[in-house]
């Protein structure tokens, strides 16, 4: 009984982790700007990592493997946002300015009509 509950919980966690990865991927392609795309990538870094790894840890049970998985999850959670920060900082320092006007400009063009 408890096995079935663990299985169902793992299924839910893994599937929602996959959904977050998909959303992150679609965001990385469709969002207009570099800085907004970093937001989409960071979604994969944090949310998907947490969900997928907890799903796998539930499957692995109480063994050494789940400790190793926990350590890997901590490592990814620590280095992913750092990499995102380094990317955004490097972009800002090299002159890429956050673009605030794309969507607003289009509505301004359509407004007089």
């Amino acid at each position: 009984m408890i096995d079935l509950a663990l299985d169902i919980l793992s299924w839910i966690l893994l599937t929602s982790g996959g959904v977050f990865v998909l959303i992150g991927g679609i965001g990385g392609l469709r969002l207009p700007n570099f800085y907004t795309r970093i937001h989409a990538a960071s979604l994969t870094d944090t949310m998907a990592t947490l969900l997928i790894f907890i799903g796998i840890i539930l499957q692995a049970g109480f063994t050494l493997a789940s400790l190793k998985l926990f350590a890997i999850m901590l490592f990814l959670l620590l280095t992913g946002p750092t990499a995102t920060y380094a990317l955004a900082n490097a972009a800002l320092l090299s002159g890429l300015k956050p673009d605030t006007g794309t969507a607003k400009d289009k509505t301004k063009e359509n407004a007089p009509e």
């Binding site: 490592f75 750092t82 920060y85």
Partner: protein
């Protein structure tokens, strides 16, 4: 089921390779190469090659990218568009690909246990490893003991590459190193990478040491460990500046590691000869042949790890210390 995942990964590999060739910005091409290496490492893992996946991830996706980026910082990073010769090259490589695809129909199917490659020597290795060496990882047993001579050659190739790079890019004498330390470099004014890096570097080096000594019981061994420890020190060099990294692990120590690693490996072979066995026959190193084999493998893996770590770090410092000539 896992084969569908493997198919997807292989298609992604081909798409990445075509994107690499078509990218005109070389920086983009180098980052895509590191993604290519990572996809290749996952593919190796699906095909049951755990040691090779670890090596490809550590060396291919890690160290190769760093060396490429160092070289890109010294040369330009835009590629000029080319004007001629594309169609002929395209025709030639398409014909080559078609010929190879035609010839692969004679290959054995993926996973066929009756393929000729599984017949002659491999079952003998799988049988004799518990008898001669009594530890789990068969790949390490073959690499260090059954085919130890090839690994000796590989250590010497790494050593030769390190010496070659040092010759080509010039070894700076100790006096010049003092001038470099005046310049402020590195990411000192960025707080977040510094804090996270300082947290992580001890664990990276610890994991490298774990991989070194655990190579007999699981995937691991000298090459992966050398690459991991080199990556930890390269991270330190990126964060604190190259001069600090040279103070932490000076050039003489690096050269000593490279030379010492190769010498250690060779001298274990010579000691085996002096104790009555053949060259690199470790069973004569101790009274009990199994313990002799394990002792020999431990020492030479340490030699390999030292040599690879020293060589990769020397190459990195040779690239990083060079000033860009416009």
């Amino acid at each position: 089921m896992i084969y569908i995942f493997a198919l997807f990964l292989l298609t992604l590999l081909v798409i990445t390779a075509i994107a690499i060739v078509r990218a005109e910005d070389l920086f983009v091409a180098v980052i895509l190469t590191s993604i290519f290496s990572l996809l290749m490492a996952i593919n190796f893992f699906i095909l049951d090659a755990a040691d090779v996946a670890l090596t490809e991830a550590a060396v291919g996706a890690g160290v190769t990218t760093v060396i490429f980026l160092c070289a890109l910082a010294l040369t330009g990073d835009q590629e000029k568009p080319q004007k001629q010769g594309q169609k002929v090259a395209l025709v030639i490589v398409s014909i080559l690909a078609l010929v190879i695809i035609y010839s692969t129909f004679d290959n054995p199917q993926l996973g066929d246990p009756d393929a000729p490659v599984h017949q002659h020597v491999a079952p003998w290795y799988l049988e004799k490893t518990p008898e001669y060496m009594d530890f789990p990882n068969v790949v390490t047993a073959i690499l260090s003991s059954f085919r130890g001579y090839d690994t000796l050659g590989e250590v010497f190739v790494v050593f030769a590459a390190c010496i070659g790079v040092l010759f080509i890019l010039g070894v700076s004498p100790p006096r010049k190193a003092m001038q470099v330390s005046v310049k402020k470099s590195g990411l000192r004014h960025h707080l977040i990478p510094q804090v996270v890096g300082r947290l992580l570097i001890p664990f990276i080096v610890l994991f490298g040491l774990y991989t070194q000594f655990h190579g007999e019981y699981g995937p691991g061994g000298g090459f992966q460990a050398g690459a991991l420890i080199a990556t930890g020190v390269i991270l330190y060099a990126l964060l604190e500046g190259e001069a600090e990294a040279l103070r932490a692990v000076p050039r003489r120590v690096l050269l000593g590691m490279v030379v010492g690693g190769a010498l250690l490996y060779g001298s274990v072979g010579v000691v085996c000869m002096l104790m009555g066995g053949a060259f690199l026959d470790y069973s004569v190193l101790a009274a009990d042949p199994v313990w002799g084999q394990q002792l020999g493998i431990l020492i030479i893996e340490a030699g390999v790890g030292m040599a690879v770590c020293g060589a990769l770090l020397s190459i990195f410092h040779a690239f990083a210390a060079r000033e860009r000539v416009s």
